[in-house]
């Protein structure tokens, strides 16, 4: 049995982690792989400014740093921002999958242009940063949001009746803008995937489940990221990084 670490970008308790883990039920997965959902020790409270993005990069890096030594065969990051992925790839040889970039590139195998459904206006800056970093602007028909503050712990939960019509309306705006395939802009939207996919005439990519299938593909083919793209540090600093996050965790709890 192989084990995959799914790094959850918030320091969640068991009940909230279960809502994240529910993503593995949305897709047929190999019986030979177990997914452990591992929360970061500490992190930002919101996800809308460069301060938040940076803290999350560090927190995810720390949470996954020892994954290979612990015996994991791959790491997935449970955020479509792919926070921490580049840094983890620079220190790990096992595959590290970020659902964001994977969603957009996979979308381009199914249609000509993708659109991104973002949560609310403050989330747009991070989506735009990703599109720039990954060189995917010219393939993107649009980014639309549904004007709802994210709840990173409870996700959509019991608010679906109010939220899903707004998500659907935003998706329809994307289609009007020329979108062939819609990428859900956050793994926290997974609870809405099935309903949206049933109502809309284009494929809707659910980033979390896609990332698990990509892990299966990479493990089956023996592939991982290219060391030429993600060179190793001359001097890795795992103790320093762990100490930083232990301090951060103490500060968050105090």
């Amino acid at each position: 049995m192989r084990k995959v670490a799914v790094i959850v970008p918030f320091a969640l308790g068991e009940a909230d982690l279960a809502r994240r883990r529910a993503q593995t039920e949305a897709v047929s997965l190999s019986a030979d792989i177990d997914y452990d959902f591992v929360p970061v020790k500490a992190g930002p409270s919101s996800f809308q400014s460069p301060h938040d993005w940076l803290l999350l990069d560090v927190a995810v890096l720390e949470a996954g740093l020892d994954a290979e030594d612990i015996g994991y065969s791959a790491v997935v990051v449970d955020t479509a921002s792919d926070s921490g992925v580049d840094a983890l790839r620079s220190v790990l040889d096992i595959p590290v999958v970020g659902p964001g970039r994977a969603s957009m590139l996979f979308a381009l195998t199914l249609g000509k242009r993708f659109g991104v459904l973002a949560q609310w206006e403050p989330a747009l800056a991070r989506v735009e940063k990703s599109l720039t970093e990954w060189g995917l602007w010219k393939h993107c028909a649009g980014v639309e949001h549904f004007d709802t503050e994210p709840d990173f712990e409870k996700l959509i939960g019991d608010k679906s009746e109010a939220v899903i019509p707004k998500m659907e309306a935003a998706c329809r705006r994307l289609i009007e803008a020329g979108t062939d395939v819609i990428c859900l802009g956050s793994t926290t939207m997974h609870e809405a995937h099935e309903v949206l996919a049933g109502r809309l005439p284009v494929p809707i990519i659910n980033p979390g489940p896609l990332s698990y299938k990509l892990v299966e593909i990479l493990l089956a083919t023996g592939l991982s990221h290219s060391r030429r793209t993600y060179p190793k540090p001359l001097v890795p600093k795992p103790e320093m990084i762990h100490a930083m996050l232990e301090s951060a965790a103490r500060r968050s709890q105090s």
Binding site: E25, A26, V27, S28, L29, S30, A31, V97, R101, A102, L105, F106, L108, T109, L110, G111, K112, R113, G135, K138, H139, I175, T179, D180, V181, A197, P201, V202, P203, I205, N206, P209, L210, K213, L214, E216, I217, A220, T221, G222, L223, S224, H225, S226, R227, R228, T229
Partner: protein, 259 residues
């Protein structure tokens, strides 16, 4: 979530003998496929002699369309095209709701999940037009670090058999140039018929080498597991499908090819 078996039709772009088809089928043993996936290989009934000109491309598209257009009615869950050119994939997508996987676009996009720029390692310069066509269509020419070949006219039926000692070291040296001179972070094999070189190259090179055929089978399974297929917006269906006409065109083509 776990569920039942999946039948995937793999369309081989040339008519061939059973022995030759078996060499194509070897690709399925190069990766560990999920148990529920059953691959069925089917050849086209006629074909261009090789894929090197615009005439060949048109014939390739129509022969593959004909070979796969009834796949859903025949009980298949997905179709994979056994050529990196993705020939026939767009037309098949326009008439099928089940996933149709083109190994070319799948490989290039997967390469970009693993590195910044990929290089294409080919047998033959005359195949470059095939890659350039897909790269242009996907608008990712700027992500391709280079395309290089060993300048050996390929044998699309017998593949590498008997010529391994000559071909494999040359492919290795050319791949080195893609990495060292062109800056490729990932290498894409330029044909599903190069699968016999994959292991040799991956053991000797430090960057990921993508083997398009096996990757396409795994992608078909993943696409089905996710409940996805191609977008109808990108691949609109015809107002009047002409399947009988296409079948009869291929009856005629097969008669001429045999004579």
């Amino acid at each position: 979530m776990r569920d039942g078996g999946l039948k995937v039709l793999v369309l081989v772009p040339f008519p061939m003998t059973d022995d030759q088809l078996a060499k194509r089928e070897e690709q399925s043993h190069e990766v560990e496929l999920p148990e529920r996936v059953e691959l069925h290989y089917r050849t086209t009934r006629a074909a261009p002699s090789n894929y090197v000109s615009a005439m060949d491309y048109v014939l390739a598209d129509v022969t593959l369309l004909e070979a796969g257009m009834h796949a859903a009615d025949q009980g298949y869950d997905a179709v994979c095209i056994d050529t990196i050119s993705d020939s026939g994939a767009a037309a098949l997508r326009s008439v099928l709701d089940i996933p149709v996987i083109g190994p070319g676009r799948t490989m290039f996009m997967t390469a970009l999940m693993l590195g910044r720029r990929f290089g294409v390692l080919s047998m033959w310069e005359r195949w470059f037009g095939l890659y350039e066509r897909t790269l242009r269509e996907l608008d990712i020419e700027d992500r391709c670090a280079g395309i290089r070949s060993i300048d050996a006219q390929p044998d699309s039926k017998n593949l590498f058999t008997g010529k391994e000692d000559d071909l494999l070291p040359r492919l290795h040296d050319t791949a080195r140039l893609l990495i060292d001179e062109d800056g490729a972070d990932v290498i894409c094999l330029g044909s599903t018929t190069m699968h016999q070189a994959h292991q040799y190259l991956q053991e000797r090179l430090e960057i990921p080498i993508l083997n398009p055929g096996p990757l396409s089978y795994l992608t078909a399974e993943a696409t089905l597991a996710l409940g996805l297929t191609h977008s109808r917006m990108a691949y609109p269906d015809p107002l009047v499908p002409k399947k009988e006409m296409i079948s009869e065109m291929l009856d005629a083509a097969a008669r001429v090819d045999r004579s």
